[in-house]
Symmetry: C2
Subunit: 195 residues, 2 copies
C-alpha cells in the first residue's frame, strides 16, 4: 500500500521537475478575461505583489465608471504607483462614441510612455478589451507596441471578451467565469468589495 | 435605423434597472476557485479596495509555499491589515499529514477571531479549499461559523476545487480557468508577478 508520505513524495518530484524545466526569465503578458468577477482585482493584487518587491507600477484604466473606487484611493497614496484614469465612463453612460474613442486614445498614449520605460516593472491596462470591442483601438497596433516593450516588464490586460489575437500573443490567459453573483440575488454593489 | 446613441440609451436603461433592483446591503461571501491564475491575487486586489474605503482587513493563509512573497511584504506594512500565515507549506513539500492538519486548524482558530469581530470589514481565507480537500477542516463546521459572522463583513475564500457546499453557501462564485500559462512555455515564476 502506498502511504501518504510516498504519494506526496511522488507529487513533489513531479512539481520539482516542472519547476526545474521553467528557467526562462522575462516579462510576461497576462490577460484576465471572461464574464466573472476578479479580472481587475486580480491585476490590482499583482500590483501589491510587485510593490512588495520594490518594483514601480503603472495602472491605466481605459473605462471608468466611478471616481470613488477604493483601489484608486488606496494605490494613489502608495509610492511607486502611477495611476491614470483615461476612459470617459462606460459607453452606455456617455452615449458619445467620439468622446469615448478620444478618451481611449489618450489613455493609450499614457500607456505607451510606461511601455517604453524599463524602470516600470508592471503595467496594468485595465478594461482595455472594451477599447478593442468598440473599435476605439486597433489590436494589431497595440500588440506591436507590447512586443517592443522592455524585456523584463510584465503587462496585465483585463476586460471581457479579449480578442483572439491578444490571447494568442499572451503568455498567460485566465478566463474567469461567473458561476453566480450576489447582484443576481438583489445585493447592492458593496463598497470595499465591488468598488 | 437605430443610432449608436439610441442603442447605448437602451443599454443604459437596462443597466440602470438592474442597479435599482439590487438594494440589499450586507456582507458578501465570495469564492474564487478554478485552476487558473488570479484566485488569490483577486482577493488581494479587494484587500487594497477595502483599505481604500478605510476598512480593516484580515488575511489568513492556509497554505504557504514561500515566505518572501511580494503581497505579504507589501500588505504587512499597511495600517489596518492583519496578515497571518497558518499553513506549514504545500503538503507535497512537507509530506507530514499530521503537521499540516494541525497548522490548518491553528489558521482556522485565528480566522475565527476575525470572523466574530465586527470591526473587521473583510476577511480573506486564502487557499482554504485545500484544507477541505485534504480533510484538515470540516466544511459544514466552517460554514456554520461563516453564517454567524457580523452582518456587514465580507469574506473571500480562495483555492482550487471549492467543495459544492461552499459554492452553494456563497453569494458570488468566480471560476477561473487556465487557458494557458507562461510556466508551460518554460518561463520561471517571476517575482512581482507570480509571487
Amino acid at each position: 500500500m502506498i502511504t501518504h508520505a510516498e504519494r506526496m513524495q511522488k507529487k513533489k518530484e513531479v512539481v520539482d521537475r516542472k519547476i526545474a524545466a521553467a528557467q526562462v526569465e522575462r516579462g510576461v503578458l497576462v490577460v484576465n478575461t471572461g464574464n466573472g468577477k476578479g479580472k481587475s482585482t486580480a491585476a490590482f493584487g499583482v500590483v501589491a505583489r510587485a510593490l512588495g518587491h520594490g518594483m514601480r507600477v503603472a495602472v491605466v484604466q481605459f473605462v471608468k465608471g466611478r471616481s470613488d473606487g477604493g483601489e484608486e484611493a488606496f494605490f494613489r497614496t502608495q509610492p511607486g504607483v502611477a495611476w491614470h484614469v483615461g476612459g470617459a465612463g462606460f459607453t452606455w453612460e456617455t452615449q458619445d462614441k467620439e468622446r469615448d474613442a478620444a478618451a481611449a486614445w489618450l489613455a493609450w498614449k499614457v500607456a505607451c510612455e510606461h511601455l517604453r520605460d524599463p524602470g516600470v516593472g508592471l503595467v496594468v491596462l485595465d478594461e482595455m478589451t472594451y477599447a478593442f470591442k468598440y473599435g476605439w483601438l486597433d489590436v494589431a497596433a497595440v500588440l506591436a507596441v507590447l512586443r517592443c516593450r522592455p524585456a523584463e516588464q510584465h503587462v496585465i490586460v483585463t476586460g471581457r471578451a479579449a480578442p483572439q489575437a491578444l490571447r494568442d500573443a499572451a503568455d498567460t490567459v485566465s478566463d474567469i467565469a461567473m458561476e453566480k453573483h450576489a447582484f443576481q440575488a438583489g445585493v447592492k454593489a458593496m463598497p470595499g468589495l465591488e468598488w
